[in-house]
Amino acid sequence: MNPMIRKELRQRMRDRRAWLLPSLYLLVLSATVVLSYYFSAKESSDPEFLRRTQGADVGTAFFLTAAYAQLAVLLLIAPVFSSGGLTIEKEQRTLSALLTSLLSPTQIWWGKLVTALLYQTLLLISALPILALAFAFGGVSPQMVGAVTGTTLLILTTISSVGLYCSSFFRRSVHATAVTYALVIGMMLMTAIASALFSAGTREFVQWPLYLNPFFTLTVSLSTEADHLRSWLISLSLFLALGSLAAVLAVRNISRSGESA
């Protein structure tokens, strides 16, 4: 096992945040779906609405609420775990000891990425029972749960890789975290604004700026239409490419960071 992973896991799980954050995460997610169900149930007291609504519709709405809420919360959490990974080593002056050991820059980067991802995967898995509640209403297949979980994990991997790149570039955690958040917000808002701007004045919906929008990627992952499947694959490829580029640049930065270590 990569010694970095063992060290990082040991330190992370010793931290009070190790149990506090999953608890808060599940609380927020549960509150969101419960509220969503409460409002839809309130609406369903109308007999006409009840006549038209099937259990499958409730199940799908419940599932989508949980999936989007999960992605939103994890996008808020992901930069915290990745963008401080290398800056913390610079701040506590331990990077020089790592760089002069027999650990390669790739091993150092990999250790940091895997630890950040393992924690986020823990959050994803812990939320699976909440997503699975939708099965009780119907309208949701195990494939949909798989697609949502897989897509969310790939998006988080890319965000973590970008966060680690920022961490390798900046000296201080606060700067790396701020820039990572700016990039995540840019991916969510700027891509939507760009799509709206390009679509304005044309009859067609211009979706290519949305390929790097996490919510768009999640949306198309749930569709079975051929067009959406194509968009999903393009989107996943772009996320993969962005994550790989960030990884290469981060490893290069680590190997050159001896001067500031």
């Binding site: 060290k7 790592l98 027999l102 001896g258 001067e259």
Partner: protein, 282 residues
């Protein structure tokens, strides 16, 4: 070997180059025959590096910290446990193995860092200001540890502003200023210390009567240079090591000089440092 020079001389940069942390702009740097640019991994295998502001993982236990670096240096199998026990013993940390690093005093933290540096049994130690912040007792212990490492065949390059420590542990001291070799007024860029052939020892001599006649007698002896003369005392520098100093004393007594006091100055390095980097020479 010591490395001395004023602030900004390039001592830390030189040590970082040797430790493979910084790439040299030009020139060739070899450690035990390995080029630090081409054979970084080989160099890291034989070098133990301690930076000027070393960091520790405060939230790890002492033994966990050593285990991590043992893994990082690929010390595996049964050897790993042996090496960690040895490191704990060397650092005097056996009883504190379960303590968190943040609970240790500064002296013990420095011991832990040195124990970590010795984990992979390096042949060369690169130490940048290792005694900074240590109390006198911890400094003495550090010196003893380094002497023991040297006695076991290890080579040490140590940068320090504490010249008395360097005087105690180093055989030779290199002078460096503004990123280049520096030299004392006699043109020596490497000063030989502690009984080595070619060492220049400073002696303070007090005689009965005027120092004029005694200093002239001393000057007649090969390798002696008068540095200062006041009343009954004079300061001289003797080239050639302790044997030459003993011979000079016999010469003075044999010349009929009444020697009241004859001291070799332990702070000789300070004098030589002052002469190399004092006013007008920086």
């Amino acid at each position: 070997m010591g490395l001395v020079g004023p602030n900004g001389a390039g001592k830390t940069t030189l040590i970082k180059i040797l430790a493979t942390l910084v790439q040299p702009d030009a020139g060739v740097v070899n450690i035990a025959g390995y080029d630090v640019r081409q054979a970084q991994r080989k160099v890291r295998e034989i070098v133990g590096y301690l930076s000027d502001v070393p960091g520790l993982y405060q939230d790890m236990r002492v033994v966990e910290f050593l285990e991590f670096f043992a893994d990082a240096y690929h010390v595996r199998g049964p050897r790993k446990a042996v090496v960690i026990e040895q490191a704990l013993r060397i650092g005097g940390l056996t009883d504190r193995r379960k303590e968190f690093v943040e609970q240790l005093s500064l002296g013990f933290k420095q011991r832990l860092l040195l124990a970590k540096t010795l984990l992979h049994e390096p042949k060369v130690l690169l130490l940048d200001e290792p005694a900074t912040g240590l109390d006198p007792l911890a400094r003495i212990e550090l010196r003893e540890l380094l002497k023991q490492f040297n006695r076991n065949g290890g080579t040490i390059l140590v940068s320090s502003h504490i010249l008395s420590d360097l005087q105690d542990i180093c055989d030779r001291v290199a002078l460096i200023a503004a990123g280049r070799n520096a030299a004392d007024p006699e043109g020596h860029s490497i000063l030989v210390l502690n009984g080595q052939t070619g060492e220049r020892i400073t002696c303070e001599v007090e005689v009965l009567g005027e120092a004029q006649e005694a200093s002239q007698a001393a000057c007649a002896f090969a390798g002696v240079k008068i540095l200062d003369r006041q009343g009954q005392s004079f300061l001289i520098e003797v080239a050639g090591g302790p044997a030459q100093v003993a011979a000079l004393l016999r010469h003075l007594v044999g010349s009929g000089i009444s020697v009241l006091r004859f001291d070799t100055r332990r702070s000789a390095l300070e004098d030589r440092y002052r002469r190399a980097f004092g006013e007008g020479r920086r």
